[in-house]
Amino acid sequence: MPAVKPLTGSMRTDGEPLDRTAYERDGGYSALRKALKEMTPEAVINEVKDSNLRGRGGAGFATGLKWSFVPKNAPHPRYLVANADEMEPGTFKDRLLLEANPHQLIEGMALAGYATGTDVAYIFLRGEYKLAARRISMAIAEAAEGGYLGKNLLNSGYSFELHLHISAGRYMCGEETGMLNALEGKRANPRAKPPFPPVCGLFGMPTTVNNVETLCNVPHIINNGAAWFRSLSRSKDGGTKLYGASGKVKRPGLWELPMGTTIREILEEHAGGMREGLRFRGVLPGGASTDFLTEEHLDVCMDFTEVQKAGSRMGTGTMIVLDDRTCPVGMVSNLEHFFAQESCGWCTPCWSGLGWVERILRAMEEGGGQPGDLEKLAFQTKFWTPGHTFCALAPGAAEPLQSALKYFRTDFERHINEKRCPWK
């Protein structure tokens, strides 16, 4: 039986996007027609709840449940935001969905909008995705012409306005409440929660924020049903997943596979294993802000529950592979530099601690490691936890560092004892 790939199966192979006609020919917008004609918003939410669709941005929150948090009697206008600010290092999955099939996202957004009673929606796109921006703009115009956006969609009485917002660039914009501030034309600092966005979000109104890949799944769930969606998966979380691999594997890339595919299968069968002469040492399973896993975890299923049990997070599902000729301390130093630079400076453990950690790691790489450094590093990560910070940036920064200290401790010690980087 050929593999079912609802997200990518209908994409063109020449790199061009599906236009509206091609998308419709492939069953596109039939889910929106069906929902507007035959389903109540509650029925759409229930179908998505039953499908076990979990948020693909990294946190894995149940999508149907998130939608149900907008109170029924909540005021209008209500907002929906598609998080297309793909800035997690090592992550390149939403780019494909945005560039190759923008109508799939638009239909998913219209469905999410209908379910949550949304009046106005934004696609929050990172500034560097220029090709995606052109293609989304074109698709929005085509969708409006087709009656899928704007006033009174397909004569249903439901109206849904959609705009593209192109960011000016900062990792913090990908954080839910930082993104809302950015859309309001402010610095993308996070907001204190509660109140949560479904009650008080964008411009103080009820707001739902979903990742691009999450939204792209919705038309397929509505078309084919929750049971079908669950059956695509090898685990409890429903559907397929876009998995990726980068680093020194033979064939870096992106693959739509059943949710719950093992790390081994992704890295060995799809990515072709390590490059000649190199050995696997570890992997960040889902982007920069996830804990390292090692050889003993290769048979872990990539879903939200199992990766967490193994001590990491599935995150975005795009893996970064560490080989035996690459310095793990250098790699962590690069990661912490990223987090330190992208911190918005709102919370002390983040702006102060990240800068300190960045300096310690850089010194270690340059031969200036000191006895006691490892204790200092471990001490800092204790403050980068929810409750000490407003958002997940610093907790995310803690993950690769704390796990590297656990799995690659001798490499850190060699840097300090030999007063140099042994890989240089």
């Binding site: 206008p77 793909e86 800035m87 997690e88 290092p89 090592g90 992550t91 390149f92 939403d94 780019r95 990172r126 500034g127 560097e128 995705y129 220029k130 090709l131 705009h163 917002h165 192109i166 960011s167 000016a168 660039g169 900062r170 990792y171 950015a182 859309l183 309001e184 034309g185 402010k186 610095r187 993308a188 411009f203 990726g244 691999a245 980068s246 680093g247 020194k248 870096p252 890339g253 992106l254 960040l284 920069a288 795009t318 970064i320 592979v321 560490l322 080989d323 690459t326 250098g330 790699m331 690069n334 990661l335 530099h337 990223f338 630079q341 992208e342 918005c344």
Partner: protein, 154 residues
């Protein structure tokens, strides 16, 4: 003064948001698209249109990686320095670029042709190392490939 074209483009954004302040980032991006960067004068002019102070706008501009408060070269090279590119040797590509153009990251060449800026992950990690020049992404970089690409930008 904002040009009539800049003003029209900014005003076209107003209906997308419930208030003018929300247009601040778009407005600065529009001005930068026409002038290459956002000057102090431009901040005041945008502020007048949006009923915001120039210092408010400056606080926003300096937060974002892609808004420039200094003049830049005719072409901006964004070279990825994040983790996947680093594993694939972006340090070497970056030093090659610096040597070849005789600038440190963050600087502009003396002929005003290029500004080189390190940038966070560009989301093309399966083709690392990666850079962008203006609107175009360049994949699977090697020093030789960088040399060939640079020739296309005058």
């Amino acid at each position: 003064m904002l040009t009539p074209e800049e003003r029209a483009e900014i005003e076209a954004e107003f209906p997308h948001y419930p208030n003018r302040k929300a247009v601040s980032i778009d407005a600065m991006k529009i001005v930068q698209k026409h002038r290459g960067w956002v000057s102090d004068d431009a901040l005041s002019d945008i502020g007048e249109l949006l009923s915001m102070s120039a210092s408010d706008l400056d606080g926003i501009a300096t937060f974002y990686n892609l808004l420039f408060r200094h003049p830049v070269g005719r072409h901006v090279i964004y070279i990825c320095d994040s983790v996947s590119c680093w594993i694939m040797g972006s340090d070497r590509q970056c030093s090659h670029l610096s040597e070849r153009l005789k600038v440190a990251p963050g600087e502009t060449t003396t002929d005003g042709r290029f500004t080189v800026l390190p940038i966070v992950c560009l989301g093309a990690c399966d083709h690392a190392p990666v850079m962008m020049i203006d609107d175009d992404t360049h994949l699977d970089l090697t020093p030789e490939k960088i040399d060939r690409i640079l020739e296309r930008y005058t």
